[in-house]
Symmetry: C2
Subunit: 387 residues, 2 copies
């Protein structure tokens, strides 16, 4: 990746470090290495406040360059920092929300004379929540590829398919368009394979996670998603696969129906489109997340679908979430979130309604906050597509 | 899952707890919940040494039963433990190698009067390294499905394909045979999408991980695996996808060639088959891991392929690894590992050779240690399959 881009990102982190009197950061988790160095390695990126970053690499063994050093184990860090003519940090931050307790403790013990803080994760996530122009361009390109895959969905559907069979064909379409497959989530607990296709009443099955649509899954070791349901006339299904084509988790959901649905479904779907239109009309720098959420609740309540909004048996407690290298970044569009939108933030907005005996309707797109409003990053037909 | 099976697993953990004077364990990481409760939830399994386990569930919201309680946040744990008429633990173990530093610290703070130890991960991994009969049966079934997918590989190959295109078709075959897709690894750093197909010289590209075969990958955010190489006559490729059909990570690699390969490739492949035969002949309860490794080195050195064994540019430092709910469990078959095999251990043995300009050859199967020797769990043609 181009150095000016990396420098811009590192400097965003440095600004936040300076505010907290932190004079160095050590990053070793994959997403943070992608952000600060442009690729995954096994090793450490050491970011001083007032000097160029150093890279300490375990593997691969073929990376060389200025400020790049080979390392075998973290206990070599102090020696290598000194060799590269940097002072020991007074206040060092580590990735406290991502490193395991034992790995954090081992790294902290390498710096016995430093004050070690666990705020590395929250601080870099704050920096990451406002994207650079290059990052937004990655999202635009992902949106194009994602839409191209979804547009081919009708061509791989055949009557009599189960949700599982169709999902496999859509996964293949995504991969052929360049999807890397890997689905990155912040936090250890949420495990998702590529995303979900949720059909009929399986969409209402509650999952271990804070999702509007859960799904039973195929095995108790991976609850969530398809459960082998036959795709039946009069029912809908929603496709919500992660759009990771260049490292950035684009997010887009579309609804399909087997034949015609009951009229209620179209009314509910229109309500979600209306929520999307109204909320994105308000979304601009300075807009407050909880106000956007309240606008959605207002519209869906008036339309009479509040009981089915964002799930039924178990409801999701948000209508949108920041996206980036992980699917769940800041900001979260949810009640009691006072955060204001800023230019460069990228988020998914996903008003969804789950109708008993019919299935899910609604919409999800990815949006970038601009100077004046928002830019839609996922352009693809938004009506219910009848198969 | 059946209660006697869960009880057997929990009791294996309790035996190890008793040895260390630990009177309770708290598990919340997915693999450990699958092991001790049979499925993924969001919540906690609390395992007292001398009383039945308690389950504290955040989500899904539809789980009920004896000893199952609803929970919103970890700070409720002490109160819920007391409500279920259990004493507070004196010595409590948490999953120190899996929980994040902040999550570990938050949980530990809930038990201010207990001695809190981070050994929960290492101890449950020790228990998990010796499988129950039911777990081995899951591996057997996975092996059958895995082999069925690999047997169809020739039918999805067409000349002129790239490694990426063929990999996508094989992923689809795996999914159609029931592969859950998710690839579970111990440790935060190793990220793999389903596994790898490595062709020609791309197999030698060093990765961030301790793999015999790396691969450049398609994007710097996910180095490893296919890189868009054209599958060419006179070259080989190895398919090594994770066989997770029921939660258990079966492991199997097979080699294919486009047309005929240079004779050296067949000789190298036979060397790997010989290593497999000789090592598995030694593998039985009491066999020491490093001795198995040394046997492999002895054979490959005598055959003249030592320089290409387990990689070239960057070599893997093992020839086999335990498998289970994660791809990297105990034991590791590597130098200086004094661990002895025990009945019920399950491991993958993967002697592989990477030949410059040709590509990878070798074999990988999954094996269960029996009372007298080993049982092969992945039964599928082992010669190089010519396409």
């Amino acid at each position: 990746m181009l150095l000016p881009e990396l420098k811009q990102r590192r400097d965003k982190i440095r600004v936040l470090m300076a505010q907290q009197g932190i004079d160095a950061a050590l990053f070793t988790c994959n997403t943070n290495l992608i952000y600060t160095y442009g690729r995954v390695i096994s090793g450490y990126l050491y970011l001083p406040l007032n000097a160029p970053a150093r890279l300490f690499v375990k593997r691969p063994n073929n990376i060389e360059g200025e400020h790049i050093f080979s390392i075998r184990k973290p206990e070599q860090l102090p020696e290598l920092i000194q060799q590269s003519e940097l002072p020991m940090p007074r206040k060092l931050m580590l990735e406290g929300d991502e490193l395991s307790y034992t790995e954090y403790s081992r790294l902290a013990a390498c710096f016995p004379d430093s004050e070690v803080l666990p705020c590395g994760t929250s601080l870099i996530r704050q920096a990451r929540s406002v994207k650079t122009e290059m990052e937004i361009e990655m999202f635009r390109r992902s949106g194009i590829a994602h839409a191209k895959a979804y547009e081919q969905i009708p061509s791989v559907y055949t009557p009599g398919m189960t949700d599982r069979q169709l999902s496999i064909e859509i996964e293949r379409l995504m991969r052929l368009e360049g999807c890397l497959g890997i689905f990155r989530v912040f936090g250890r607990s949420m495990e998702i394979f590529m995303g979900s296709l949720l059909a009929g009443d399986n969409a209402a099955a509650p999952s271990p996670y804070d999702f509007a649509l859960g799904g039973e899954g195929l095995d108790p070791s991976l609850p969530g998603g398809v459960n082998g349901t036959l795709l039946q006339p009069g029912q809908s299904f929603m496709v919500d696969l992660g759009g990771n084509f260049y490292g950035y988790m684009g997010d887009m959901s579309r609804v399909f129906s087997i034949g015609r649905l009951p009229e209620q479904a179209y009314a509910a779907h229109q309500t979600c489109l209306e929520i999307q239109a109204e909320v994105t009309a308000l979304a601009k720098p300075g807009a407050v997340c909880e106000d956007l959420y309240q606008k959605a609740i207002e519209i869906v309540t008036k339309a009479g679908f509040a009981d089915y909004f964002m799930g039924t048996v178990q409801k999701a407690k948000f209508i949108g979430h920041g996206i980036g290298l992980e699917i769940n970044e800041a900001p979260v569009i949810a009640p009691r979130i006072k955060q204001e939108l800023e230019p460069g933030m990228v988020f998914a907005l996903e008003p969804k309604i789950v109708l008993p005996t019919i299935g899910p309707v609604g919409i999800e797109n990815s949006w970038a906050v601009t100077a004046e409003g928002v830019e839609k990053l996922t352009l693809c037909q938004e009506e219910i597509i009848e198969l």
